[in-house]
Subunit: 237 residues, 2 copies
């Protein structure tokens, strides 16, 4: 056993050096979840049973399940009827994770606005087509909300005008992407707010007006101008 390196010209050159056990378990569970073999809301087998199935220690199994929870694929409840329940990662959680990782690479602020400029104006146009009167009044309420709270208080994402706008598109992919970008933006903005509050509120109001008039093109233009202005400022600083 001590002469493993004197291998006698093995037929297969594949190293197949196993990954970490927990990683492989994660992958198997993931594909089981994606394939629908484990339905949403149902419970994964308890750890002891997974141990037996994967022929791994509890530590490895547990780490795998914890990673799944961190990814947002399951929630773990302790106690008698507890366990790991398959769930759907809500896109706020996804956004916050993305934000975290974006934060690690330090992007230029300009790059951020450039990306927003790609998504949001087009999103506004779609939103204008779909907005209900309730959506509109939601937007107005948010504007009012921001008018009242102190400027230094960061507002929750649910009260963010741009996020609400994205949600109106009824395309979860879009709202997710926007919420991620906004999360990154927030981390930057704490350092240096680019637009004055009144400028921002004015733009938001104009956009809402345009949407109420069902003028998608106008809404798009205003948002585009607004963001492009911020982009220029960001590139200068």
């Amino acid at each position: 056993m001590s002469h493993r390196h004197q291998t006698v010209l093995a037929a297969s050159f594949e190293p197949v050096r196993g990954q970490r056990l927990s990683t492989m378990i994660v992958e198997q569970l993931q594909s089981a979840i994606f394939s629908g073999a484990i339905a949403e809301g149902s419970r994964l087998p308890p750890e002891r049973e997974l141990m037996a199935r994967f022929e791994a220690s509890r530590a490895s199994v547990q780490e795998a399940v914890h990673i799944l929870e961190r990814t947002g694929l399951v929630v773990i409840r302790r106690g008698a009827a507890g366990g790991a329940f398959v769930t759907r990662p809500d896109f706020l959680k996804i956004g916050s994770m993305l934000k975290l990782m974006l934060q690690a690479n330090r992007f230029a602020l300009g790059e951020l606005y450039e990306a927003r400029l790609l998504i949001e104006p087009g999103g506004a146009e779609i939103a204008a087509r779909l907005a209900t009167t309730e959506d509109i009044s939601n937007l107005r309420a948010t504007i009012q909300f921001h008018r009242e709270i102190p400027a230094d208080m960061p507002s929750p994402i649910g009260r963010n005008f741009h996020y609400l706008l994205a949600c109106i598109t009824a395309n979860p992919l879009i709202s997710m992407l926007v919420s991620s970008l906004l999360g990154v933006a927030q981390a930057y903005r704490l350092q240096q707010p680019l637009a004055t509050r009144s400028e921002r509120l004015l733009a938001h109001e104009q956009i809402t007006d345009a949407m109420e008039a069902r003028d998608g093109v106008l809404a798009r233009q205003i948002l585009e101008t607004h963001l492009r202005c911020l982009l220029r400022q960001a590139q200068q600083s």
Copy 2:
């Protein structure tokens, strides 16, 4: 000790129910990394030492470090001079995680194209401004590559026309978003390819031609038309 629930009107109502140990360790290490207290490229203390610092078991510490690795914040090397080295998550890795989470929510194919329609045409316009002759020949090489490989063989992301296009924007945020969306798209496309190969290749060639002519608007239009056509098909099916 068995009457814990008869708490005598605690002064603080905060449950402060401790999170998982590994989670708290992850957070501390993360903020240490983000703050720069642990420089990029340097090594985290070995597990035994982290055990002592956090007063936790090796299992907890190890799980935390593994999670950091999964997040892309460190790479772990085994062996003598091994350990967890602080690194920067490259955006392909981030993109793949985003893709994973997008995949978990099952989107309609139409929503996917709608999102791509927001990002990619604008991205193409930016790319047309910045493309070098080398970029152009890269694009052509990719088209040729796809012309030659069998249709059923999935191509690597580095050979994906749309991804290359996004990379030319020189905005890592954009390439990341696009690569994520493409990843999701790939999972779908295995089921049903919407565009015929010749249609796709033709569109790609036209876009490249437009970029070579520095006609950003045209490149944008072609890509937009192409995607919008696919979107319509997706909505019908």
